[in-house]
Symmetry: C2
Subunit: 295 residues, 2 copies
Amino acid sequence: MDLRRLRYFVAVAEARSIGKAAERLRMAQPPLSVQIRKLEAEIGAPLFRRGTRGMDLTEAGQALLARASEALALAVDGAEAARAVAAGKRGRLSVGYMFVLANAMLPRLIPELRRSVPGVDLEFAELSASTREARLLDRSVTVALCMPAINHPEIQVARIGAQPFMLAMPIRSPLARLVAVPMERLQGRPLIALPPPEQDPASSAVAAMLRRHQIVMPIASRVETVHSAMSLVLAGEGFAIVPACAKLGAPRGIVFRPLRDAADSIDIAVCWRRDSQSPLISRFLKCAEKVVARI
Amino acid sequence: MDLRRLRYFVAVAEARSIGKAAERLRMAQPPLSVQIRKLEAEIGAPLFRRGTRGMDLTEAGQALLARASEALALAVDGAEAARAVAAGKRGRLSVGYMFVLANAMLPRLIPELRRSVPGVDLEFAELSASTREARLLDRSVTVALCMPAINHPEIQVARIGAQPFMLAMPIRSPLARLVAVPMERLQGRPLIALPPPEQDPASSAVAAMLRRHQIVMPIASRVETVHSAMSLVLAGEGFAIVPACAKLGAPRGIVFRPLRDAADSIDIAVCWRRDSQSPLISRFLKCAEKVVARI
DNA sequence: GCCAACCCATACGTTTTCGGTATGCCAATG
DNA sequence: CATTGGCATACCGAAAACGTATGGGTTGGC
């Protein structure tokens, strides 16, 4: 079953003549005649009635024609689809992101992507730090928005921005009256912490900052997500140190204040598999940079 | 776009390895490797990621795989469908018949055909004599049940039976009291005739019979169909001479009597295009013979 | 009624393509 | 460091396809 033979067959069926079809196929008439006979031999039955004025499909030929032209169309469509995917004009772009970035970035990022890569199926998944890494590696996610970047030999990183840390507290906290909170005022205050550094690199950035300023904050609670941290802060359990973008989407009753004298910030990065040569990644990078610049 | 390449591609994609696929395809590994690279060159993009432990589809490759395997299936299905049609296991059998035969034959013929050619689409069309011939010639009808046979160089005929002529008359006609009507009793009686012989060969058979017995019957009316003839007979307009099978489906109030001393009968025949080599025709012939034998 | 035109089929030589064998390269493994 | 496993490259022989030349049958015109 050769696709070329089927193409010839369809051409002859449409032209109702070997000579005419050969002309359209830009080949001589005899080899086309031979190919048609070979196809008939392969099928085991005549596909055409040879009349004195050209060729005419038999019933068997009609049965073949329908499927052959469909198969032909599918083959060229498959090639085109593959080319389109390779060129980034179609395909799937699955984005893993972290919760704190969702409110700040997605509302602008999604329309930006739709404009930049029309025809591409977009997927978004809110994933924890370790899941982001795992799903990048098994390719079930194309790119990840991370804060901070993933550190792994197979994963490539592009820093697209940074977020200063801010102190989150209940509105009736005394510190809330300050425009900016001096670092030393944090000494000894209870901290709502995220999972330990080996599970979440973001909390390691916070810990490093406190250590650098020689501040010790007892850990009042450990929570899984920034969302939970906000709840505990609102309940008066303690303070949280979070990237500035967490402000968006935080519940009423919580205020955020910059940390004075602390130039510390945490990187926002786009991460992807080093061997993933999809052109969608550079498009995504451009969109993400554009969006981050306006945060 | 070669179907063989697509088959190789699908095999490699499924085996996730060139070596394994080559084994399954019963060929050596190097030529398969070459074919895959040629396909990639044709597409213009890599379809596989070459790892140290085999091959893995790229996104472009996945896009191609879906269509390629469909195209492959369609191609083999097309070949099988063509073979099935050629073998008479599938296809279309369109039967043209004449009105007078419908009641006598179709109720038995249709189930017989369904048993004999399961999987074949059956079509039935009640057609006048000239239309039967035309539609056989343009192949919109595969076979025709005729009475008498069609006479045409392109059309082949198989006689499957015969019908004696009978006299149709109103039940209160004096002749109705006879078990069989002697031919001479028809002399001078009004005849309800079908279209003239050049349009309907059946009426020519009736005319020939009357001529042979030297009977003259004035034509009271000419009608298009046997159905109309029955109406006029019922109305007392005259007598009709029809094949015995017209008895079935005739309205109440009409009686049929054999013509004594007249061995005349009219052939029932199956007709088809001489160049139509469909195996369905011989199957149809067998069924029709079986049914006619039981009329 | 014969000749020209049309169309498909066959024959043969040339070229392209494909498949097999031998071998190389690279990475992972012990 | 050697071995194994897997893909890529090189080269050769075989098969398939294409083109040119030609035959044979039917149609239609002079």
